[in-house]
Symmetry: C2
Subunit: 332 residues, 2 copies
């Protein structure tokens, strides 16, 4: 690999001058500057970013930890995160990991990134503390579950949003509503939605029956299976079911179809997020729209502020209820 020294030799200057040129210091005489640039060109020289970062302690890299790339909702947020960060001169990369590999993260990211964005992942408090003690700020795009309660985040106010949905279901005559969350055991952002749901349910004056909670694992297939098992065992005790995300809600639709349960007549189904697929299902899915782009902008703004040493503050974004055929009978 061609290094700074070779460029310097060819240009007939010292290696420092090459650095000056590369870092756009105005002090270099125009003529030498040209000589250096020409040498760089001729040799096809590329600065070694590892070496640079080692020296400057700045990588201009941000890691985005993703839970499940197969969820198109999260993929959509990624797009916006990346765009936003690029605008600020950062290089973004995505990474997924499993709980068991969490400790590897510390060693893998240490020194390699200026900050970390969490997307549907929740790190252990100790891991976050570790990063922060090493000046690597961590921001979560959605509120992590209990385990990650110390992490700065941006999210919707789920109680308020789900209340909109519950009110809508009430208007349709439903009084008993079930909820499908994802991976109940592992504190995830679905847990936050579930808790918001419980508070909203109480606010709407409805009672919660613990047996109305289903575990859809966050994914289409798991959700389909989970509801399928319930339906096979007899009629569901609830008349409406809310999925913590659209992917699971869509899985529920599929389960209903499989079990011969008519939607929305026998069971109303709704989701959260409003993914592309939701308008295409049969029937189309009623859902809470999650504003991806504003969310990404907010989260990135927060992270960059923290990199600059600013304290994190609180702020909730607004969602929107989108009513479709999975909760209301379409006439005609």
């Amino acid at each position: 690999m061609v290094s700074r020294k070779e460029v310097a030799d060819r240009a007939g200057v010292s290696s420092a001058v090459v650095s000056y040129v590369l870092n756009d210091r105005k002090i270099v005489k125009e003529e030498t500057r040209r000589k250096v640039l020409q040498a760089i060109e001729e040799l096809g020289y590329q600065p070694n970013l590892l070496a640079r970062s080692l020296k400057t302690k700045k990588t201009k890299q941000i890691a985005v930890l993703v839970n499940y790339l197969g969820n198109p909702f999260e993929a959509g947020i990624l797009l916006h995160l990346e765009h936003e960060l690029r605008e600020h001169g950062y290089f973004v990369f995505f990474h997924t990991y499993r709980k068991e590999e969490e400790d590897q993260l510390k060693s893998v990211f240490m020194g390699r990134v200026d900050g970390i964005l969490l997307l549907g992942q929740s790190l252990q408090a100790s891991t976050v503390a570790d990063f922060e003690s090493r000046e690597v700020p961590v921001v979560s795009v959605m509120q992590p579950g209990q385990a990650g309660s110390r992490i700065a985040y941006r999210d919707l106010d789920w109680e308020a949003e789900l209340l909109k949905l519950i009110r809508h279901l009430q208007e349709q005559g439903h009084t008993r509503i079930g909820f499908m969350s994802g991976e109940i055991a592992s504190a995830s952002h679905y847990e936050v939605r579930f808790e918001g749901f419980l508070r909203a349910l109480a606010a709407a004056g409805l009672t919660w029956h613990p047996e109305d909670q289903l575990d859809g694992g966050g994914r289409f297939e798991d959700a389909e299976r989970a509801l399928g098992v319930r339906l096979a065992a007899g009629k569901a005790p609830f008349t409406a079911l809310v999925g913590a995300n659209d992917l699971m809600a869509a899985g529920c639709l599929s389960a209903c179809r499989g079990a011969g349960v008519r939607v929305p007549e026998e069971l109303a189904v709704a989701g959260c997020e409003n993914i592309l697929m939701s308008a295409q299902t049969d029937p189309p899915l009623t859902t809470l729209h999650y504003p991806r782009q504003p969310m990404a902008t907010e989260a990135v703004g927060l992270l960059l502020a923290m990199i600059d040493g600013v304290q994190a503050d609180m702020k909730a974004l607004d969602g929107e209820l989108i009513v479709r055929g999975s909760t209301v009978r379409i006439h005609g």
Copy 2:
């Protein structure tokens, strides 16, 4: 940041010994080994990977360049790529970029990765040549279009696969079949599918009408709009339409619904890839299944071999035709 030197001091040894311990050299006396490990523990020391890579010239990192994360098909492949690479001790990260930013890639990746995987991206020949001259092998998961013809890849044999689909459509009585590709102008992997389609069409004895090609931009929304415009302008001249991917085919279904065109009676629609959504659309989508996991395994194997200096070879994988309601009338 706590460094090797501090660990050495606390353990009462030299920094070299710390390296020996960290790199699991058997030569260290058990007692000193323990002292060093304890010092590491107490100080919460993490090796600086930048420094290590700078010295060893190995990063154990692989970059995956992604075209469009919003496509669940590509997201699914990513999952498998990551799993596969992790098994081999590599750290994977994903990155997306636009054509205009291609030259930035060289500087950004140079020295930071041991290899590059392309997923639906096609780099300019010069960029690839540049990486390879610097010993950074590049492998594409799907065959890139013309522009990237020098890149090693793994893909389906599209002519063979699409012939299965065309035969199926012929059995349903279709003789004129349209094709929707994505971003015709920019040589992408969709171009490869289109060319395969043309060859398959000829092999099936059907004639191709250039006006039967649509540009669906690779995405659901663009596809919906493209076919929508056609249908608004009058009846399509073809009775069956094949999308270069399922996302576009699903967009076509939506366009048909919007235009009051019955599927499959008035227009049969089929896609490629078999994404999750395809079984959920109304009607469900006939498609060519793309085996993601075997694909990922193959591509990773090829890349790792090239990192080890082995020459790339050729090999095509097998897909599978999945017939659903968008091409055949379901009875009952």
